[in-house]
Amino acid sequence: MSGDTILNVERLTMRFGGIVAVQDLSFAAERKKITALIGPNGAGKTTVFNCITGFYKPSGGAIRLSHDDGRTIALEKLNDFRIAKQAKVARTFQNIRLFPGMTALENLMVAQHNALMRASGLTFLGLIGAPGYRDAEKRAIDLATDWLRRVNLLDRADDAAGNFAYGDQRRLEIARAMCTEPALLCLDEPAAGLNARESAALSELLLSIRKELGTSILLIEHDMSVVMEISDHIVVMDHGVKIAQGSPQEVRDDPKVIAAYLGTDEDEAAAVMESGS
């Protein structure tokens, strides 16, 4: 198991004053697999994400990321730009956070900051246009173009991201996260606000990312049709603790999950779980 585990969360605890948002949570995400973190509102899912991506310093526990080359990184000790630079973890937010005043292409270029920074020799070589930097910039534009093509936004490369339709912004945000060339992609409710057709397209995009690029994905999602279709492994949280985990089939049939996830209203539980099948 540990050989192909990319993310290992061990006994993670996060307290805010007297409130325990996450308690003793342990789970693992496997390499090149899609792991979903689900649970009712307020279960602590986003808090887990914030601990993984350096927004919160956990009150206890460890978050270990192991790279392909065997390096292990203690994520709870990193913050800020180092999450992307050293740990190669990218994330998106529940509410869209593109740079609205910049073009789609520029959004994807900012995400390649690190690659360009290395080539630009601390800015200076970049400003005078050294050949090495020009090559790097050309590669960056190629990668950005490639991603715009994958998310069907190539013809709008030079439009301001803020003017895009909601669903397009969601896809652009994922493309931008992928332009950082992450080892682990964390998506916070990527299907929120999408219609059925857009959700299906999203599932397809995420599956292609896993299959073609081998990027490990950790996602929080309420849309059960997406979760059930693409997840390899599901972790269910409620009130800050893990209540179940397993394959989509196992989780779907777990009575504890049905009860906790949707309160005790069995009818509603059944209805939502139905939509996932």
Partner: protein
């Protein structure tokens, strides 16, 4: 008409200097949302460093004016940029996540520190230099003997401003650093998550702003032939006004505001009274802000939900 044309030239030159300083205000406001009150003093420091470098070069026996100018420009930009970096590092960065007024108070303190430091180090007297860019062109001479003059130094100020503005616009819109700066301006957290070192980007903003202020300081020194420790205060307030008038946060706005303030001041002095030129400039600022609260080119700030 001739008198008007002459004042137009004078106003544009003064406006160029204000505009160069105003860019520093507007850039810093755009990226960290604070008014860097010490920026006017950075301009003054730039003027002093230019003066000192100039005197050193002359005492070394250098006589070729273009060489002197180039060296003075580069040295003034480099050392003033270092000042800009240091100010941000010691006075603003530690307060970045403090309450909103803290960095502003720190900036006012920094302004006093720089003013008094220059007074102690350089003395309180005005420091003149002999005019060494002389000559110019007579554009037109009217029947009653009034002459429209365009001096070489005026041409130099305007050309330098245009070149710097073009370079700077290119930097912001086309380079990696410019993209990072705009990204940090819109969403620092997100920029950091994409791997952008936000602190470093902010430092670079201060460095560039200070370098532009140094050029303005050099231009001021050459144009007026003097510097003194207090010149940063008034010029800083005017440039800040220019940045607000143009729409704070907007780069073309800063330049436009600078030109507007320069022209208003010059025309008011020419046609009404020299004593009240500042009153005129600030009155127009108030009127503009009443009718256009975001300034001439500013965009209304959209509340983030």
């Amino acid at each position: 008409m001739d008198y008007f044309a002459q004042q137009l030239i004078n106003g544009l030159v003064l406006g160029s200097i204000y505009g160069l300083i105003a860019i520093g205000y507007t850039m810093v406001y755009g990226i960290v949302g604070m008014i860097n009150f010490a920026h006017g003093d950075v301009f003054m420091i730039g003027g002093f460093i230019a003066l000192i470098t100039f005197l050193i070069l002359v005492s070394l026996g250098l006589t070729a004016i273009p060489v002197i100018l180039l060296v003075v420009l580069l040295v003034a930009m480099a050392i003033t940029a270092l000042y800009g970096w240091t100010i941000e590092r010691i006075a603003y960065r530690p307060l970045r996540h403090s309450f909103r007024l803290a960095p502003m108070l720190s900036a006012i303190g920094m302004s006093f520190v720089l003013t008094n430091y220059s007074q102690v180090a350089q003395g309180a007297r005005v420091k003149p230099i002999p005019p060494f860019i002389t000559g110019g062109y007579t554009l037109h001479e009217s029947a009653d003997g009034f002459v429209i003059q365009l001096s070489n130094i005026q041409i130099m100020v305007v050309i330098t401003t245009i070149v710097l503005l073009a370079l700077f616009t290119w930097l912001v819109s086309r380079t990696r650093l410019g993209r990072d700066m705009r990204a940090c301006e819109q969403d620092q957290t997100m920029a950091a998550l994409l791997g952008v070192d936000v602190d470093r980007t902010i430092s670079m903003t201060f460095v560039i702003g200070a370098a532009l202020a140094a050029v303005a300081g050099l231009m001021y020194l050459l144009y007026y032939g003097l510097v003194d420790f207090f010149m940063g205060f008034v010029a800083g307030i005017k440039a800040f006004t220019a940045a607000v008038l143009g729409g704070i946060g907007s780069l073309p706005g800063a330049m436009l505001g600078g030109l507007a303030i320069g022209l208003i001041e010059t025309f008011w002095s020419a046609y009404f009274s020299v004593e009240y030129k500042d009153v005129a400039a600030f009155s127009i600022l108030i009127v503009v802000l009443i009718f256009m609260p975001t300034g001439l080119l500013g965009r209304p700030e959209v509340e983030k939900v």
